[in-house]
Structure formats: structure tokens, C-alpha cells
């Protein structure tokens, strides 16, 4: 596989890299920001975090936010695996077959 550098120009490979990068970096950045939000509600924004979500409830905004954060983390994990199974795996197969055919010298 020493010469696989030439496959960097392969259209399917570039598509794979582009597609994946466009999904994983924004989602990861979003998760880090969402986590930062929770850390803010526990420190500088603790006054806001300590407010109740409604008059009659004892549940605070910080507590609700943390539960929501776990839900969002789980949803993103579930979404990503579905999306990658559907969109990335077929592209990977294409790259593989491109390489196999070029190795056969076609």
C-alpha cells in the first residue's frame, strides 16, 4: 500500500473524507459547546442554573439541562451510526473496488 498516495485523487475517496469531516467536526463542536453550557450553569451562571423550570416544580434548569445533555449525546451517537452506516460504508466500498480494479491494471 506504499503507493496509495495516488488514490488521494480518487473522486470517491475525496467525497468520503469531505462527507465525514462535514458531519463529525460540527457535531463534536456542538457537543463541546453544549457541555460548556452545562459547566457555565454550574459556575458563573449558577444563578440561572438554580432557577426552577416552572413554579410548581422543584427541578432546576441545571438539572434539566444535564438530563437533556445526556439525551442529546445519546441521540447524536444513535444518529451518527445510522448515518455513517448508510452514507459512509457504501462510499468506502466504492473506494475499495476502485483500488481493486486499478491494481488489476484496468
Amino acid at each position: 500500500m506504499a503507493d496509495n498516495q495516488k488514490f488521494h485523487d480518487n473522486e470517491n475517496f475525496r467525497e468520503l473524507v469531505r462527507k465525514r469531516a462535514r458531519m463529525i467536526w460540527p457535531l463534536s463542536a456542538f457537543l463541546v459547546v453544549a457541555l460548556a453550557g452545562n459547566l457555565y450553569l454550574m459556575s458563573s451562571g449558577a444563578e440561572l442554573g438554580a432557577r426552577k423550570i416552572s413554579e410548581n416544580s422543584v427541578i432546576t434548569i441545571a438539572l434539566a439541562y444535564s438530563l437533556l445533555l445526556i439525551l442529546v449525546g445519546a441521540l447524536i451517537a444513535g444518529f451518527y451510526v445510522q448515518w455513517a452506516n448508510k452514507h459512509l460504508d457504501p462510499l468506502m466500498d466504492k473506494v475499495r473496488s476502485d483500488i481493486a480494479s486499478s491494481e488489476r491494471g484496468e
Binding site: S28, L31, M42, S43, L67, L69, I76, A77, Y80, M92
Partner: protein, 559 residues
């Protein structure tokens, strides 16, 4: 083969003898120990069933564990769903079940920071690490980092970092295990540690990754089942209203409404909150025993599925933790039967989840959860031991000392010897650290994982400019810096060295050490103008191609 069976039998009977003689011996010693719980028959029976069935599995797995591939990675033959359970079983420790619930019971909402940061970390690890990691390595995370880096120094440094993280993590588990078993089963601390160590050595030496995987899967199911049942029974007491349950907790807790507000533990101190949050989120991405599990599936898609399912499983578990931690207040706080003569919670702060089990399901559920806690520890230490033996035999012996030309049989023998040595060392360390503050030990392990292992892993995968000199110089300096900060923190500077005030006022140093790790590794790679550095940078394109597609990974696995 028959020799192995005989020695397994031998060791089982030794372990059995320890348990039996001491359960009877302890009955007379019990009055001296106020904290010790009455011996619970269910706990012992359930634990025995667990120990015997996992040893049975080990016996079965031993016949399938003949090669190095089988030993380290179960030859990539674990299915994604099995691996997801095993990852969850490898990661969810007794500290999670007992520690976080205890923290929330006393200090309220703040303790939950130890949970949500972890789920965020897992979701990020799924997307940016899992698949590439599987594509680039075979046995250990050192394989991945040194994929395109020349020379032995990177391997040596990273193997040492792996070992430091694993050993410190192991100390935390061992001491926790010893105390817990002492408490629940009435065994002496030293025997408790010996039993844990003997079982862990048996699983790993004979059954390798296959046995470890099964132990972790069974434990994960038991832990989830127990957590689900306690949460269900707790909510049922309050008409399945989460809100009513919390109202009842707020009513009896002296903190009142502030039980659910931020500030009960970390005092709204931004630096402290951030350093704990960052440690939880990024520390998990540098744990060698967790990362090693990604190699047990057949390809990158399998790694992706297993990490995603594991994230889902753990997020459910962390919701149970919240329900148990805060809900237990409503049924246990101030109830005399759970307090000792001194007015403290019987058995200490880590007993909340177990008292809740007793309140909701009587002696049976208490015994069940005690056995589950024991099983949980075993599953985690088995994973740690396996990763440590891989770091010694694969990274250090086969690739550094023998320069990749080790005889596979000798390597496998060295692996098994390492397991025995680690088992012995863990007993010694468990005894040495018995009375030490375990928080600082675990903080150190996670801080090194987040500040050295994680930056190196991320930069090696995504940054063309990383060189071996940058990795070694930057990594070692960060390692030293982390030690310095830990020494300056209250746990060492004040409690051990006897100074008046801590220079570094927090437990976790990550908020400083992780950025420092990134900057140092980046800087020393950038100024590296050597020929070797040029070669390493030029290899990035090929590495990137393989990390994205996995092409080449399959061929490599056949060697």
C-alpha cells in the same frame, strides 16, 4: 491443556478456601468493626454463581486463546453488540454506581458532573476516534500513535504512559474493591484484595480477551438490570413521577431546594467546575484499556457500531444513577435503620445505592447489588490487566526490545508472565495504598490520559506536522508538568507534605495540563527540522488514507 485445567481447578479451590475460612472467622471479629455489615447470604451465593460461571467461561475460552491475536483482541471476532456491552462493562466501574450516587446523596446535583461529561466524551470519541483507531492499529493504542513515527522512544514513552494510567487506575479499583468486599462480605481487606487479584489473573492468563469480554458483558447486564430495577422501584414509590420523587427528597434533605441547585460540591468555582468537566470528557479518550476494546471487532464499521451502542447503554445507566442518587434521599435520609450509632450513614458514604437496594428489595436485592458491585470491580480490573500485559509484552518486549522480531510463542509467554506480575503488584499496591486518598490516584490517571495520551492520539491522527521528537519531548514535559501540579495540590502538598496551604487548590489538573500538552507537542513538532521529521510528515498522507478507508488494515491483520 490438562495442566492448565488442573491449575485452574487448583486456583479455584484456593479462592474458595479463602472465602469460606474467612466468612466463618469474621463472625467473631465483627463486633470490633462498627462499619462492617452483617454477612449477607444472598450476596455470597450470587457472587459464587458469578465467579463459577465466569471461571467456566474462562475454561472454555482458554481453548480458543492460543495465539497472540486471540489473547489481545479475541482475533477481532467479537460482534458489535457484544463489544458494546463489554465496553460499557469495562468502563462503568463500582465507583460510578457507588461513588456518584453517594456524592449526589450528600452534596446534591453537582455530583452529576461526573456523568454528563462522560457521555459527551463518548459521543465525541465515537465520531473522531473510534473508526480511525480501528483502522490504524492492531493490539494497543501505542500501535496507533507510532503508526508513522520513527524510532523506539515514542513507543517507550507511550507504553510507559499506558502503564502509569493503567496502574494508577488499577490502584483505585483495588483499594475500592478491598474496602467494599471487607464491608459487604466481612472479609479482611488483604484477603479481599487477594481474591480479586487471583480471579483477575485467572480470567486474563487463561482466557485472554475472550474471557475478559464475557466477564465484562455479564457484569454490564447485571449492573444494568440492578440499576433498572432500583430505579423502577424507587419511581414506583412516587407514582412514577420523577418530580414527586425529587420533591420528597428536597423535603427531607437539610440542603432543601439547594439539593437540586448547582454549588453543593464544587462551590460554583469556575476553574474547579471546568477542570472536573474537562477531565471527565477527555480523560476517557486516553484510557488504554478502553481503547484496546476497539480492536476486538472485525473492522472500523464494527468499532463505530460498538462505541455508538455502548454510548446508548451508558446514557441509560447514567439516568439510573441520577434517579438512585437523588431519589435515595427520599427513602433513606434520616431513617435510623441505615445509620450507625454515631449518626453517620452505616458503612460510609459509598453505601447509598446499596441501602436503597435494601430499602426497596430487602436482603435479596441488597445481596444481589453487593455481588454486582464485586463483579463490576472484577470486570474492570481484568480489562486493565489485559491492557497492561499488552503494553509490556507487545509494546515494550516485542517491538522495542526485540524490534518487532519476537517469537510469537515467547511473546505470549511473556504476556502471561506479565499478567502474573501485575496481579502480584496489584496486591502489594493495594496494601500500600489502603489508607491513602484514592481520589488523587484516580485524578492522576485521568489527568495523564487527558493531557498526554489524548492530545498525542488526536494529533497523530489528524495533524500532518506531528513528529516523534515533538511527541517525545512534548509528551514527557507534559507528563512532568502534570506530576508537579498533582504534588502542589491539596492532597499531596498539604495532607502528605504538611504545608499550610495548597498551591494548586483543586484535585484535577486537566484544565491546565491538557492545553499545555497540546501546545508543547505542537511546538516541539513544529521546530523539529530533522530528516526524520520530514520522513514522518511525508507518511501522513498514506496514514490518512488508511485511517479513512481501512484499506491495508485487513492485509496487515493477516500477517
Amino acid at each position: 491443556m490438562s495442566r492448565i485445567i488442573v491449575s485452574i481447578r487448583c486456583m479455584i479451590s484456593v479462592a474458595f478456601l479463602f472465602l469460606v475460612t474467612n466468612v466463618s472467622a469474621v463472625a467473631s471479629a465483627i463486633e470490633g468493626e462498627v462499619e462492617r455489615q452483617a454477612v449477607n447470604v444472598f450476596a455470597i451465593v450470587i457472587f459464587f454463581i458469578f465467579a463459577l460461571s465466569t471461571l467456566g467461561i474462562t475454561w472454555w475460552a482458554a481453548r480458543r486463546t492460543k495465539s497472540k491475536e486471540a489473547f489481545y483482541t479475541a482475533s477481532g471476532g467479537v460482534s458489535p453488540m457484544q463489544n458494546a456491552l463489554a465496553i460499557a462493562g469495562d468502563f462503568m466501574s463500582a465507583a460510578t454506581l457507588l461513588g456518584i450516587t453517594g456524592l449526589m446523596f450528600f452534596r446534591g446535583y453537582d455530583g452529576y458532573i461526573l456523568s454528563f461529561g462522560i457521555i459527551v466524551g463518548w459521543a465525541i470519541m465515537l465520531m473522531i476516534i473510534a473508526e480511525r483507531f480501528r483502522n490504524l492499529g492492531r493490539f494497543t493504542f501505542v500501535d496507533v500513535i507510532s503508526y508513522r513515527l520513527e524510532g523506539q522512544s515514542v513507543r517507550v514513552l507511550m507504553a510507559l504512559c499506558s502503564l502509569v494510567v493503567i496502574v494508577f487506575y488499577l490502584i483505585g479499583q483495588m483499594v475500592g474493591a478491598g474496602k467494599l468486599i471487607q464491608l459487604l462480605f466481612g472479609l479482611d481487606y488483604i484477603y479481599a484484595i487477594i481474591i480479586v487479584s487471583v480471579l483477575m489473573v485467572l480470567y486474563v492468563t487463561f482466557g485472554g480477551m475472550i474471557a475478559t469480554t464475557w466477564v465484562q458483558m455479564i457484569k454490564a447486564l447485571l449492573l444494568l438490570g440492578g440499576g433498572a430495577f432500583i430505579s423502577y422501584a424507587l419511581l414506583a414509590r412516587f407514582g412514577f413521577s420523577f418530580s414527586n420523587m425529587l420533591k420528597a427528597s428536597v423535603d427531607v434533605h437539610p440542603m432543601g431546594q439547594s439539593l437540586l441547585e448547582p454549588g453543593g460540591w464544587l462551590k460554583k468555582d469556575p476553574l474547579n467546575v471546568w477542570t472536573v468537566g474537562l477531565t471527565m470528557c477527555f480523560g476517557i479518550m486516553g484510557l488504554p484499556h478502553i481503547l484496546m476494546r476497539f480492536f476486538t471487532v472485525k473492522d472500523a464499521a464494527g468499532a463505530r457500531k460498538s462505541v455508538a451502542y455502548a454510548t446508548l447503554i451508558m446514557s441509560v445507566f447514567y439516568v439510573f444513577i441520577l434517579i438512585i442518587g437523588l431519589g435515595a434521599v427520599a427513602i433513606i435520609w434520616g431513617q435510623p435503620e441505615y445509620y450507625n450509632g454515631a449518626g453517620k450513614l452505616a458503612g460510609g458514604t459509598n453505601m447509598v445505592a446499596l441501602h436503597a437496594a435494601k430499602a426497596l428489595g430487602g436482603d435479596f436485592l441488597f445481596g444481589f447489588m453487593s455481588a454486582v458491585a464485586f463483579a463490576t470491580i472484577l470486570a474492570v480490573v481484568a480489562g486493565l490487566t489485559l491492557a497492561a500485559s499488552a503494553a509490556i509484552a507487545h509494546d515494550l518486549y516485542a517491538l522495542v526490545i526485540k524490534k518487532g522480531k519476537a517469537d510469537p510463542k515467547t511473546e505470549l509467554r511473556i504476556t502471561k508472565i506479565s499478567v502474573l506480575v501485575i496481579g502480584a503488584i496489584s496486591i502489594v499496591l493495594g496494601v500500600i495504598f489502603e489508607t491513602q486518598n484514592i481520589a488523587v490516584v484516580t485524578a492522576f490517571a485521568l489527568a495523564i490520559a487527558a493531557s498526554v495520551n489524548f492530545p498525542l492520539l488526536l494529533l497523530s491522527m489528524y495533524w500532518r506536522g506531528l513528529t516523534s521528537r515533538g511527541a517525545v519531548v512534548g509528551g514527557s514535559l507534559t507528563f512532568l508538568f502534570t506530576i508537579v501540579i498533582i504534588v502542589l495540590s491539596k492532597n499531596i502538598w498539604v495532607d502528605v507534605l504538611g504545608h499550610e496551604q495548597a498551591v494548586f487548590p483543586y484535585v484535577y489538573p486537566t484544565v491546565f495540563t491538557m492545553p499545555v500538552g497540546f501546545v508543547l507537542i505542537w511546538f516541539f513538532s513544529l521546530v523539529d527540522k530533522s530528516k526524520k521529521a520530514e520522513l514522518e510528515r511525508s507518511r501522513f498522507a498514506a496514514q490518512f488514507f488508511r485511517s479513512e478507508t481501512g484499506i491495508g488494515a485487513d492485509e496487515a491483520a493477516k500477517h
